[in-house]
């Protein structure tokens, strides 16, 4: 199973991290990443740049509205992620627990859907295939 560890930090924690010893943070994260790699569980991981550089595409309006960050009432900002492969949910939790983070940081752990979960046995996908056949169209008629 694949799990995504999504790093979320509060504005305050992010500001505090800018004061902290950067080398120390990088070293601790480096050791953690190395541990994941050596354990054969690391699939991917990336850190996100300063939220000031980002922007938001909001689909409340049509056409969607593009606005600069930061994000209004958002209390926790996404700052990075890992994707790991483990046999169980508990193993993913154990790896998350070991991440060298401090107060103001959270890891949201989510299972990554496997392709098989979206497969032809889905009733709507089957229905859609039927519709296409009836209508003689090879294009999806939904969406």
């Amino acid at each position: 199973m694949k799990y995504m560890l999504i790093l979320r930090v509060t504005d305050q924690a992010l500001a505090a991290s800018k004061e902290a010893d950067f080398t120390e943070i990088v070293n601790a994260m480096g050791r953690y990443n190395e541990e994941l790699i050596k354990a054969g569980v690391m699939l991917a991981g990336e850190g996100l740049s300063d939220p000031e550089e980002g922007f938001v595409v909001d689909f409340d309006s049509d056409p969607p509205l593009v606005s600069d960050g930061p994000y209004g009432e958002t209390k926790e900002l996404f700052s990075g992620y890992w994707v790991i492969q483990t046999a169980t949910k508990e193993e993913a939790a154990e790896w998350a627990r070991r991440c060298p983070l401090g107060p103001g940081s959270k890891l949201e752990v989510r299972r990554v859907n496997e392709l098989e979960e979206f497969d032809q046995s889905n009733e709507y996908i089957q229905k859609e295939a039927g519709w296409r056949e009836q209508l003689g169209t090879d294009r999806p008629i939904t969406g």
Partner: protein, 422 residues
């Protein structure tokens, strides 16, 4: 949450730690007590103690160090009980006094070395292949006997017996707990790689029964191969094996229909291939190449898989390169199965006639007698050449020989299709 649910949750948390740490723990203990059997026994006792204690006290900061410390204490208890003044146990006692329970220093290099030794001892040549597989999954993978039995669809008692005998054999043969000396290294490493590849293949395509694949076992083999590649980063074949597994597993999702019928490479929906996994496989192959010692059998097979992965459609496949890679593979690892695959690639690159020559030569050699893919490939080539009756007979023969029920169904359907042809 009821008491049982709390206990169950705690047990699962301990199991998760065990899966992550067991190889290191068993490896470190084996170094300390000099015997894999005793080390595993001690680690097992520590695991039981963790299951009892962690629910109340929580998971310690360094669970591996905690488990190792408890295992060492059990070793000392055993030593006291037996009243044997054994030098090994005395050393453990001194070591234990000098360290605190949950923050014992774990020297990463030393642990890495121990885990590597553990892989080598589990795949030692005094053991048969089946024993190597069972022992590797147990002591390196941290799988339970029941999990191994389920994965291989054999009775738990058989696995248990295999592991007990394997450990006794290692003790009787006085196999040292070491990284093999230079002269033996290449052969010993290739035994380890072979065991991991066998496990992977067992997961990929079951040789018997109705289950076409068991992805969990494949994932476990891949995890162990990744661990090995990090332990011996200068060995191209370790990366080659990782690459081969990644590139093969990337096709897992497209290999069967929702009801489990196999889908041939030519008919697979390539949008269902796992692109991220392909990228990892290509990167692993690049690491193998970067070592600069050429490609061995695993890297060559990975390179063939890479050719398939790169082709957007079956028709886009670079069959000429695949033929060359099979020729190289036939040189470094000669095998009739490789020749058969080469023949299939030749048919794609240059047509069925030259390919049939290779296959007929294999039939004449007789080495593949009884192997279902020989008549299967020959039947397909004959069909392309319009020799329908012969083709049908070969496909029926292939169906008779295969041990896989689903594959048999596919072959019979193909034969049936030819029945009404002129």
């Amino acid at each position: 949450m009821g008491e049982n649910a709390v206990a169950e949750r705690a047990r699962r948390a301990v199991e998760a730690v065990w899966r992550i740490e067991s190889a290191k723990i068993v490896a470190a203990l084996t170094r300390m007590v000099g015997d894999l059997d005793l080390a595993e026994d001690l680690a097992g006792q520590a695991l039981l103690e963790a299951i009892e204690q962690w629910p109340a006290g929580g998971v310690p900061r360094n669970p591996a160090a905690w488990l190792t410390a408890v295992a060492k204490r059990r070793a000392i208890d055993g030593w006291r009980r037996r009243d044997l003044l054994d030098e090994r146990y005395a050393a453990i006692a001194r070591d234990l006094d000098a360290s605190r329970f949950d923050d014992e220093a774990w020297d990463p290099d030393r642990i890495d070395d121990d885990v590597l030794r553990l892989m080598f001892i589990a795949c030692h040549p005094v053991l048969g292949r089946k024993a190597q597989v069972a022992l590797t999954l147990r002591v390196v993978g941290g799988l339970t006997t029941e999990e191994i039995a389920r994965a291989f669809m054999i009775p738990t008692a058989t696995v248990q017996q295999r592991i007990v005998r394997a450990k006794k054999t290692l003790t009787a043969a006085k196999v040292p707990f070491e990284v093999p000396p230079r002269a033996e290294f290449a052969n010993r490493l290739s035994a380890v790689l072979n065991v991991l590849y066998l496990v992977f293949n067992e997961g990929y395509a079951a040789t018997s029964g109705s289950e076409w694949m068991r992805a969990d076992l494949g994932a476990e083999a891949l995890r162990l191969a990744r661990i090995l590649a990090e332990l011996v980063p200068q060995e191209p074949e370790a990366h080659g094996l990782v690459a081969l597994m990644e590139l093969t597993a990337a096709r897992f999702g497209a290999r069967t229909t929702p009801t489990g019928e196999p889908i041939l490479l030519a008919d697979q929906d390539r949008t269902r291939w796992d692109r991220a996994q392909i990228t990892r496989g290509v990167a692993a192959l690049a690491r193998a190449d970067a070592v600069g010692r050429g490609r061995g059998p695993y890297a060559l097979q990975a390179a063939i898989a890479e050719c398939h992965a790169r082709a957007a459609t079956f028709e886009d496949t670079d069959w000429e390169t695949i033929v060359l890679l099979y020729e190289a593979l036939g040189q470094v690892a000669p095998s009739p199965v490789v020749e058969l695959n080469r023949a299939a690639a030749v048919s794609m690159a240059y047509g069925p006639a030259p390919a049939l020559e290779y296959v007929d030569k294999l039939v004449a050699d007789g080495e593949l007698a009884g192997y279902h893919l020989l008549p299967s490939v020959r039947g397909e080539l004959l069909r392309q050449l319009g020799r329908i009756d012969e083709a049908r007979a070969e496909l029926l023969e292939a169906a008779r020989l295969t041990g896989n029920e689903r594959e048999r169904a596919v072959l019979l359907a193909k034969a049936e299709e030819l029945r009404d042809r002129p």
